[in-house]
Amino acid sequence: MSVTPRRGRVVANILAVMFCLVWIFPVYWMVNTAFKRPNDVTTPTPQFVPVHPTLTNFRAAITQSHFLGDLRNSVIVVAGTLVIAIALGIFAAAALSRFRFRGRRVILVLILAVQMLPAAALLIPMFLVFNKMGLLDHYLGLILAYVAAVLPFSIWVMRGFFLAIPYELEEAAMVDGASTGSILFRILFPLVAPGVIATSIFAFVYAWNDYLIAYTFMKDQSMYTLPVWLASFSTPTTGTNYGGQMAASVLFSLPVVIFFLCIQRNLVSGMSAGAVKG
């Protein structure tokens, strides 16, 4: 941490405060609107604090149309995606970083290239493939689709962390007669914890946020996830008014924000601890 002269500190503090005010404004406005009565939302002069704060928007959002059911579906799908993506990815990343074999380079470039495909383009082909496998309208289908989507990036990230582990550790263990398995589990895996966290964030956000795949793969309304629920808030017949849309957005964002806030401690410390070497 560099030492900053006093005047620099004051300037930095002022900038920081201004930055915070500007950057948090959309979030503040969303929460502000969510607590307003419908008539107070569309006023020519905006209310910066709800004059008559109310919980009706939240109540309406929760009780209307399957919120709890869709929340449950989202949680199941996200949890499944996290577990499988991490499990599969960590093995693959280990293989790609610690072993030499043919085609490694090709696989790596392919993994990078696959991330460049626009996600929507694959919807129809994936739909047809999943249909053949009978995975539609099942949690597993959605989970696997998300895993397939986040695996390339997860492998790439975790591989980076594997690469950072000095080979000497492995050598020492091998000299002591440890098997490949125990090397993997006892030594390597724990050291890539930040990579696992990074993967989990990516997978969480992707699975939590996806609308198109969830909407097309699930046929029954009871299987929809939260993004589909949120989209229903702007339908002509049963969508709520604007306060309701904002309340729904708050509810939808809350779990992700909480997750990030919990993780961020490990995230930043993980980043500075050993990952970002040098």
Partner: protein
């Protein structure tokens, strides 16, 4: 497949790029367990199976479809015609495609530039703050970063709503532009682009700022002390020391930003649907319109393939440099 928005962490990435110039000793080439050649394959197989079945096969399908005029008819009755390269030729000679391409490149450039520059500034700022303010800024960044882009697009639409949006109201209060209360940002090409740009940058800066800042904290303080003792100005210090050590990480976040911003979809679709009159139709939107509004799957697939190839070309130099800098691929 790209993520819909830059809401992710690649904390491991800095290692990849930072490894070479920073690591005092290099990994021995040819390291790795050589025991059982089958083990890596087995480790890879679950992931490989999933990726194979669920990604490679659909991609193959996609490429095949791009050579046909597949549409709903194909889905329902199995009828289609293989049109081969003609489809690609039709697309490549369509001025609308090239307009969209140029638009995408320029818009991506603007988004990446905005995100990275602001990210660098915020990273620098974070380094100079005391504990409390640093925590505050971090929390603010996380809120912006974590918000799902569907929700943030909705909020953005409301912020810039004609008549009732607070964005217009605030602008009118500054008395700089006159009464702009009734401006519909989504209805004017430049305003729509600016509006979407602001949304993307707002959510992209946190990741960049936090990653850069993490890298910055690794820089040995002694370098700074030495430079300051020599009487270097703050700017010089930043330019020669910070940026030098930041370069690999900076390169990395820039490349990631390019890949993600190039394929941004949700935000554009929800705010302007690619309008007005296609003014905000980037290649991703253009492909979507073909595939899911007109249901020309064949054409949409071809556009998607072209988009990916274009992006590969744009990032080719990074891939090459990755291979070259002794990165053990």
């Amino acid at each position: 497949m790209s993520s819909p928005a830059a809401t992710t962490v690649a904390a491991g990435e800095p290692v990849v790029a930072a490894a070479s110039p920073r690591r005092p000793r290099r990994q021995r080439p040819g390291r790795g367990v050589k025991r059982s050649g089958i083990v890596p394959l087995l480790l890879l197989s679950p992931a490989g199976l999933v990726i194979l079945a669920l990604t490679t096969v659909p991609i193959g399908y996609l490429i095949w479809m791009s050579f046909t005029d597949a549409s709903q008819r194909m889905l329902f009755t199995g009828e289609y015609d293989v049109v081969g390269l003609r489809q690609y030729r039709d697309i490549l000679t369509d001025p609308e495609f090239w307009r969209s391409f140029v638009r995408t490149v320029l818009f991506t450039g603007a988004m990446v530039a905005g995100s990275v520059l602001l990210g660098m500034g915020v990273a620098q700022l974070l380094g100079k703050l005391g504990r409390v303010l640093r925590f505050a800024v971090t929390v603010v960044l996380i809120f912006a970063w974590a918000m799902p882009n569907v929700a943030s697009s909705m909020v953005w639409g409301w912020l810039f709503q004609p008549g009732y949006g607070i964005g217009n109201w605030l602008l009118t209060q500054t008395h700089l532009f006159g009464d702009v209360t009734d401006t519909n940002w989504a209805d004017r090409p430049w305003l729509a682009l600016t509006c979407i740009w602001m949304l993307i940058v707002w959510q992209a800066v946190p990741f960049i700022a936090l990653t850069l800042n993490a890298a910055q904290t690794q820089v040995d303080a002694s370098y700074y002390e030495a430079a300051r003792l020599d009487g270097a100005s703050e700017w010089r210090v930043y330019w020669t020391i910070t940026l030098h050590f930041l370069r690999p990480t900076l390169l990395l976040v820039t490349i990631l930003s390019i890949i993600w911003d190039f394929n941004v979809f949700n935000q554009i679709w929800l705010i302007s649907k690619g309008g007005p009159d296609g003014a905000t139709s980037t290649l991703g939107v253009y492909a979507y319109r073909n595939a899911f509004v007109s249901f020309h799957f064949g054409a949409g697939s071809a556009i998607a393939v072209l988009t990916t190839l274009l992006l590969l070309v744009l990032t080719a130099f990074y891939i090459r440099s990755l291979v070259r800098t002794g990165e053990e691929l």
